[in-house]
Symmetry: C4
Subunit: 209 residues, 4 copies
C-alpha cells in the first residue's frame, strides 16, 4: 500500500484550507487606504500567519512521506486526524480576527495550533513504528524542533491571559523557526545515498546497514 493517494488527498485538503481562508477576509466597503487597513489589515496579517503554518505543515508532510513509509489503516486515520485540526484553521483564524485578538478567541487559536502539532507528532510516531520506520527515526533524530513547538504554543496560550496580543509572539516564533527550510530529510537522503555508494549497496532496493 503506497502513500500516493494519501499524499494527493492531503494536498487537496491543504490547498483548500489555505485558499478558503481568503473567502473569510472582509472586503472594505469604502475606497481608501484607511478602509483597507481598518477592515482588512488585521485579517491579512492573520491570514499570512495561518498561510505560513499550512505551508509549513505541507512542507513537513512532503518531507516525511519522501522517506516512503509503509501505509496502513492506522496511518490513514492519523493523517485524517491531522487534517481535521488543520481544517479548523479558517474557523479559529476568523474568530480571532473578527474579535480583534480578544482573549478567549486567541486561546482557542493557540489550542488549534497545539492540536495540529500534537496530531503531527502522532502521525510521525505512527509511521516510525511501522516496518521501515527506523529511517524516519534516523532522519529526524531527537526532533528538537518538534519538541520546542508545543512548549512555545503553551507559552503563547499562557501569555494570552496577560495581554492577548502578547500570546501571538510565541506563535509567530514557531512559524519563523520552521520557515527556515528543514534540511534533515534532504541530509539523511544524501548521506545514505553516499553510504550506499561506498558500500556498493542500492538505497532504493533495501535498507542501509
Amino acid at each position: 500500500m503506497t502513500s500516493n493517494r494519501l499524499e494527493a488527498f492531503s494536498d487537496g485538503v491543504l490547498a483548500i484550507v489555505i485558499t478558503v481562508m481568503v473567502l473569510g477576509l472582509a472586503v472594505p466597503k469604502g475606497t481608501t487606504w484607511t478602509d483597507l487597513v481598518h477592515t482588512s489589515g488585521l485579517g491579512l496579517l492573520t491570514y499570512l500567519l495561518s498561510f505560513v503554518y499550512i505551508g509549513i505543515y505541507w512542507n513537513n508532510h512532503h518531507h516525511l512521506f519522501q522517506l516512503r513509509p509503509e501505509v496502513d489503516g492506522s496511518v490513514l486515520w492519523a493523517n485524517l486526524h491531522l487534517l481535521f485540526w488543520l481544517s479548523l484553521y479558517p474557523f479559529t483564524t476568523a474568530w480571532m480576527t473578527q474579535t480583534r485578538v480578544a482573549e478567549v478567541p486567541t486561546v482557542v487559536y493557540g489550542l488549534n495550533l497545539l492540536g495540529a502539532a500534537l496530531a503531527y507528532t502522532i502521525l510521525q510516531q505512527t509511521i516510525s513504528r511501522r516496518p521501515g520506520g527506523e529511517r524516519i527515526r534516523a532522519a529526524f533524530g531527537r526532533d528538537r524542533k518538534g519538541l520546542v513547538s508545543p512548549i512555545l504554543y503553551l507559552t503563547g496560550i499562557g501569555l494570552t491571559f496577560v495581554v492577548p496580543w502578547l500570546g501571538l509572539v510565541p506563535f509567530v516564533a514557531v512559524a519563523v523557526i520552521w520557515l527556515v527550510p528543514d534540511r534533515r530529510v534532504e541530509r539523511y537522503l544524501r548521506t545514505h545515498r553516499e553510504d550506499a555508494r561506498r558500500t556498493g549497496e542500492d538505497v532504493e532496493e533495501g535498507p542501509t546497514p
Copy 2:
C-alpha cells in the same frame, strides 16, 4: 482504462466536501467560552461527525480501488452517484445544525447518510461484476459491516420520530464501527501475496489460483 483519474477526481471532491463544511460553521459574535459553545458547539460536533463519515468513505474508497478493478463508463457513473450523495453532506449537516437537531432535518440527514451508503454498495457491486471482480468479492466476503450500516441508519431515522436527538445515536454507532481500521483488503492482499509465493506465481502479473 485505469482508475487513476477516477481516484484523483474523487479525492478532489471529498477534499472539498470535508473542508467546505467548516465554511458553514457560524463564527461567534461574542468573545467568551459561552459564546463559542452556544454559537458553534453543536456545529463543531456535527462537523466532526460528518468529517469522520467522509474520512470513512475516503478510506473505504481507497481500499476498494487498491484491488485495481477494471473501470468503464458504468463504474464512472456509479462513482459520480456516490459523490453526489456525499456532496450533499454540507447542506444536510447545516440544516440539522441550524435547527438544533429538529425532527425533519435530522431525518433528512439520516436519509442522506443512507443514500450514500446505498450508492457505495452499488459502486462496490458494479465493480465486482466487472472482469477481475472476484477479487473484490473475495476480499469483502459477506460484508457484514456493509449490511449493518443501512439497518442502523434506518433505526436512527425511526428513533428521530420519537426524540430527534436519539436518532443520532445509531448514526454515531455506524461511524464508530467503521472508524476501527478495516483490515479486510490488507489481509486479502497479504494472504494472496503469500499464496503466490508458495506456488511460485507473481501476484502482480496474473490472478492467483
Copy 3:
C-alpha cells in the same frame, strides 16, 4: 509534453465547481418538509442537473485524454477556455434558481450550456489537428451526439421565450442522451488492440495501420 498535469488541473477545477454549487443552496429557516421543498426543492433539482452536466464533461474529458493526445500551448488554452465556461455554472444555476426559472436567467443558463458545448468541440478539434489526431477522429467518427447537443440547447433557449419552464426540457434531454455511457473510446481502444494483435503490432509503441 504529456497531458497528466492538464488532466490533474481540470479534475481539480471540475471537482470544485461540482462541490461549490452546494454552497449556493439556501438552507431552510423552518424545520418542516414544506420548508425544505419551498426553500431548497428547486435548488436541489437544478443542482442535480448541473451536477450531471459536470459529470458528463468529466467523463468525456476523461475519455478524450485516454487517447493520449499530444499537448501544446494551444491545447492548454482550449482546455482553459472550456473550464472558464464550466466555472460559470454555479453562477448561472444560482440566478435561474433564485428567480425560479424566469425567462432571461433561463436563457443565460442555456447560453452557458451552449458556450461549454462549443468550447468542448473546439478542444476536441484542436486536439485532433495535432500529430496523432487521426486517432481522435477515428474514435469519435461523425460525432452525431456532439452535433445534436448544440441544436437542443438552441431549441431550449428558443422555447424559454414561450414558457421559461419549457426551455428546461431540451436541456434535460441533452443530459439524458449523454448519461448513457459513451462507449466509443472504449470500443476504439478494444478494436485497435485486437487489430494490433492480429497483425502482430504493439498498439502502445506505434500507430495501427
Copy 4:
C-alpha cells in the same frame, strides 16, 4: 526530490483560486438583462481578467516544471510565496469590482499583480540557481516578456492615479502578451532533442553539451 507533489499542490491551489472567484460574483436580484449587466457585468469582466491571469501562471508554471528542475526546501518556499500572492486575487478582484474600479482598490489590484510577477521571477531564479538550472536559463534566454510585465504593471498603477479605468489598459495588455502561447520551452525541448540525436546522446540520461 522530484517536483511531482509541488506541481499537484500548486494545481490544487490554482484550481481553487480560479473557481472560488465565481463565488464572489453577485447574483442579480432582478430578472432582466439590465439587472444582469448592472449587478454582474463588471464582475464578469474582472473575473475573466483574473481567470486569464491564473491561467497564464498555470501555463508558465507547467512549462517551467517540464524542464524537471531539482527541488529543495528553498524552491518549495519560493513556490508557496507565489501561491500566496495568487491566493489574494479573489480578494483584490472583489474589492476593485465592488467599488466599481475606484482609485485605491485598482492600485491594490495592480500591486497584487506586481507581487505575483515578482514572486514568479524569484521562483524562476531560485530554480535556475540549482543544479541543472542552466537548462532553465537556456530555455528562457533574456526573458524579455518577464521583464516587460512589471514595467506594464507599474505603468498601470501610475495611470490609475490619473483615471482609475485607464490603469486597467496596461493590465489587460500584459494578459494579451502572455495569452499568446509561449513556445520557448517547447522549442528548447525540441531543439535539444535534435541536438542529442545528432551527437548520439540521450537527453533524458544526461545534460546536453
